[in-house]
Subunit: 363 residues, 4 copies
């Protein structure tokens, strides 16, 4: 066909797309009215999942090398931003699905057993590629997460598990951040000094605050103690290693320091885009969590105390995954280590200069 | 396959669905990265359009009879509410598409000529079924709206044009509202009395307001005059007919009165659901308008002063359709006729009783 | 001042409103940039809380009588719809607050100790008026929910606790639903018959499904058993009473039946608006839950593992309130009792007639 | 008061805030129920306007110098991003206001005459500070935009008009972009070469496309001609000057080139954040436009063909401001000048090096 002859419907393969909705409830008689909505919402999700996986390809391609170009970090941040927008749309899509009432759902729900959203291979791949590991997952009815997938789907998901995840790629990239040890400067050491000061000041505040009752004081001191223990992880590699062993941290010691450094000095030209990158990963983690949570509320509303189409009391499970299936939790936990800007150690001029733009060096 | 064996991916026909994305830019070499997003956004729209048409089927089925069951009016309002939610999602989807920048679009834009969103047959059908008529439309490049559709698509759209639209069905349903002339009561007459009072009071206020300068007073009096002329349409069938002839009104005289009556006495049990129905039609009209407007802004941002993929300076056209392609404009214009609740004529007890629920009549 | 002279700024008391932002961090020197955002977000919340309480006044006024007018139920549903919209806006407002990063927050966070959102008296009043009881609440640091409120605020909240909540008002209104026992018809009995059939059919399906492995079958049968036990609560007043004693139900036996009846036969004219009313209460419950959950995620992101401004590890607490502080949970649990429309017992003509509109009776 | 004793209600000045709502309709009797909503929505807008103006202070402070620090450009982009979020919330707030129906509004509308949203001094200041000039504005009832403001408000707005706007500050900053003329490289010249090629290729496509009918071909060629004329403005200073004189462009010739350069080479480290900055200005412009448009739709729905509270047929005026009151229109028009990445002239190595980060130069 001539290039000039492209037609909208052909380009979008609408004939194929719009003939791919077959209601189960209609196979034996009158289809339930709301089944089409159910199908189309799920198909829209799967289209968007395909888009997310495609963007993940590009982002992971960027981080698959040991020498990530500064130009490409911006691209990665932008594409993660797109994934974030898609996930926000996914949350919004639940508003449409919620126009279906439990009674409407009941008209076709039994026809779907045991099909279930648990069987979305694309969603599993998204989780795996972001960095959700088998051991991080909550089992559902004592079976591994991929037990319900059929052959080809399971193979695809299992194959994805063999590939380095975005989490691990970014961890490696963080570890290569040059500025945290440069010349004589060691970020960790200069930071330790100001933190030690700050924590003893905080302790002082709590001990001398006349408005606190004894019980309150104990609570606050215990909290401070917990913070101190956490800081120890930052300053002492063996403590970090021990906590990591127990699941307290996932990021390596060096990656954690780099992520903290980027967060604290985000205004330096070399760190602005890396900071955006880390923010987008948190945005994605948070929005996935919100989606899981809202999904669980909807399931509860839809089926009450009954079992799900996959035979499960799904909403409790979904709610627990919202809590547990988080990939970039360490980035959230970073806030634990933050100290006020006024207390931040000043960077050596030489290090700052390295983080600037070439043209402005002369300025 | 046994009914119990339904599998998620088979149910949703994912193999078919997820293999229906072919980038034009990829046919001759490396596909442009953002073309997949472009395809998937449009496919998602088309899926949702299918859903909207399906709900329109149900709603129009309800109004296809001369004796619409009170139970069904609630169903119709609920389904129109769903269409509204879908349209709101459609507006939100533009947020995702806007993560594509003009430069990214340029990488594949030329490959799509002359395909264009103008060629969405489903969208045209939605417009037609709501009640947008050929004569209401703004021509684009001096050609009728369906000129760009290919055979089967055009046939489908043209066929839809032969069928009674929702607008016309609801107009007929409104005309059958029994309460506006019941026993000795004529809503129009009792309303005319209070309106006449109110307008002369308003005129008085304007004439005596010491804060108005002469020029302002003239402006306000002219506005009042316009309102009076509008009211005349309500009270005098021949004036309404003349204005309707000139495009001032689309609804028939009787339907207009009924819609106003429902709006004014919406709390009566018999009118609560009809009022919701009218509101949903306005919501749909407004949200379609917002979608068209945002779409036009996005097109402007995307292609600047260039021509669209369909060869058009599309954003100006889209902006004008936002203004002109409205179906339920008369319902918005109804506000012109409203008067404060305190001035509303009380309904005769007999009429009120007819609008109540049977069980409470005894109460 | 002459009525005609009203000025926008005076009407809105802008001088007062816009001079009510004083940053704590600025009292001793340079104010932290983001503190104004923090203040304004919270002030916007409090303005909206005032609006919600005002709408609650109107809604509770409607239900404060034993003879609620059918006209007013529609008004109540509409005002609850407004509260829902406000709560959705409240969720959206978090997007603005999240433009503040943890590091920005740290610049003034210490100045706010021990002030805390726990001290919002208006929010506590909203909870109480909806129907959250003292015994439903999770204690925070072993103190009752109002321990942190100062005198006048605590008095106001405690006073609200003395007044009948919306939950209890609606429960009483549900109990008065006439249709569930009318003439010889008892909804509960006719429903029991079809449920018994359905459950044994379900059991059969599970037992004979060849695709289920034994372990799966046990899980499903256990789920079915749980459903049966739940149904028993519907059919046997003493079982309901026992479960209610243990916190399984909050609604009375009769109210539960009425809510179920409304849900099942929502298309009947007399039930359309009551069904909307129940839906709005669920929407409010769900959106409050989403707000609490998103709030907890934001707190976690903002302060990591540190203590909150009120001295608490707030995000865990917030997350648990999302789970536990629900008022209309029984309405969600109602789905447990639903059966497919095709299995619904037909209503006697006499009962149906009572639920129709007067004018159509003749039809 | 001891620092430790801060109380939530005192901090937020809730007593003051929550006592600043007085319904006009209540002064002579029973207040109209919906007037509180009307007041609170507008107060919430004014709170957010204060926040926007505060962020504008910070952003304009950054651009008030001839030597903007690279670090601060990131901050400015972030704060403009916050303004964007606030504006999106502002659009959402209309959803709440739309729960008020025209009939409800009528209960107090007359009491407000002639107060009007036209009198929001803060909103006028936002417009002025972004860069909307007196001459850009559509007059309303033949009076200048500030005619309805009272003394102090008008003074404040007029004072703002004397200060350099964000538009003009950013224009000056763009003009200082070093890379568009550096060493022997002149961006304009290298770009002209590839554009000339591209346009003649496009012309060729149109002339030889067998699917175009003659009339269509003329339309497309005319469009191409328009594009060429536009490009001339980029390459020839005197043409730009002439078009600018006639209102075709607002940005200076040099600023336009810099903005285009940033858009085309946005991936270079030195341009990533400037590109985000320009994007945020477009986002703000677009969202303000959407807000104005939705506002106009709501006004139309609320008052039909009547006059506004300020005595105006406001919705037509609002709709035209959506179209005309745009500040960063030139950034949207930039898309006119874009060419596909594959055709982009490669930058000289020396120029690229200057746009890199210092540390990576050695790499």
């Amino acid at each position: 066909m001539a290039r000039g002859g492209l037609y909208y419907g052909d380009y979008l393969q609408l004939e194929r797309l719009l003939s791919a909705q077959t209601a189960e409830s209609g196979k034996l008689g009158q289809a339930a009215h709301d089944e089409l909505l159910f199908i189309i919402v799920h198909q829209a999700y799967e289209l968007w999942f395909k888009q997310i996986l495609f963007e993940m390809d590009a982002v992971q391609g960027i981080f698959s090398t040991d020498q990530v170009d500064d130009r490409d970090v911006g691209t990665a941040a932008r594409l993660l931003g797109r994934i974030w927008e898609i996930l926000k749309l996914g949350v919004h899509q639940l508003d449409v699905l919620e126009t279906m009432t439990p009674l409407d759902f009941l008209d076709f729900r039994d026809h779907l057993v045991p099909a279930s959203g648990f069987q979305s291979a694309q969603f599993r791949q998204i989780e795996v590629r972001l960095g959700l590991r088998r051991q991080d997952r909550i089992n559902f009815e004592d079976k591994p997460f991929d037990a319900r997938l059929q052959g080809a789907d399971r193979d695809r998901v299992n194959h994805t598990e063999q590939v380095k995840s975005l989490h691990d790629q970014v961890e490696a990239w963080l570890e290569r951040t040059p500025f945290i040890e440069m010349g004589g400067f060691t970020f960790r050491e200069s930071y330790r000094k100001v933190v030690t000061d700050m924590l003893s000041r905080d302790e002082d505040t709590i001990r001398t605050n006349p408005l606190l009752q004894d019980a309150e004081r104990e609570v606050e001191l215990a909290g401070l103690k917990r913070a101190q223990v956490k800081f120890d992880a930052l300053f002492d590699e063996s403590i970090h290693a021990a906590q990591r062993e127990e699941g307290g941290w996932r990021l390596s010691w060096r990656a954690l320091q780099a992520a903290l450094f980027i967060t604290l000095y985000r205004d330096e030209p070399a760190l602005q885009v890396p900071f955006t990158l880390l923010s987008r990963m948190m945005d994605i983690d948070e929005t996935l969590t919100i989606w899981r949570y809202r999904h669980s509320l909807m399931v509860q509303r839809m089926i009450g105390l009954k079992i799900g189409t996959g035979g499960s009391s799904g909403h409790q499970y979904l709610r627990r995954t919202a809590e547990q299936h988080r990939v970039f939790g360490d980035l959230f936990a970073l806030s634990t280590f933050l100290i006020p800007r006024s207390a931040l150690p000043a960077l050596p001029d030489a290090v700052r200069a390295e983080m600037g733009l070439t043209y402005s060096r002369k300025g």
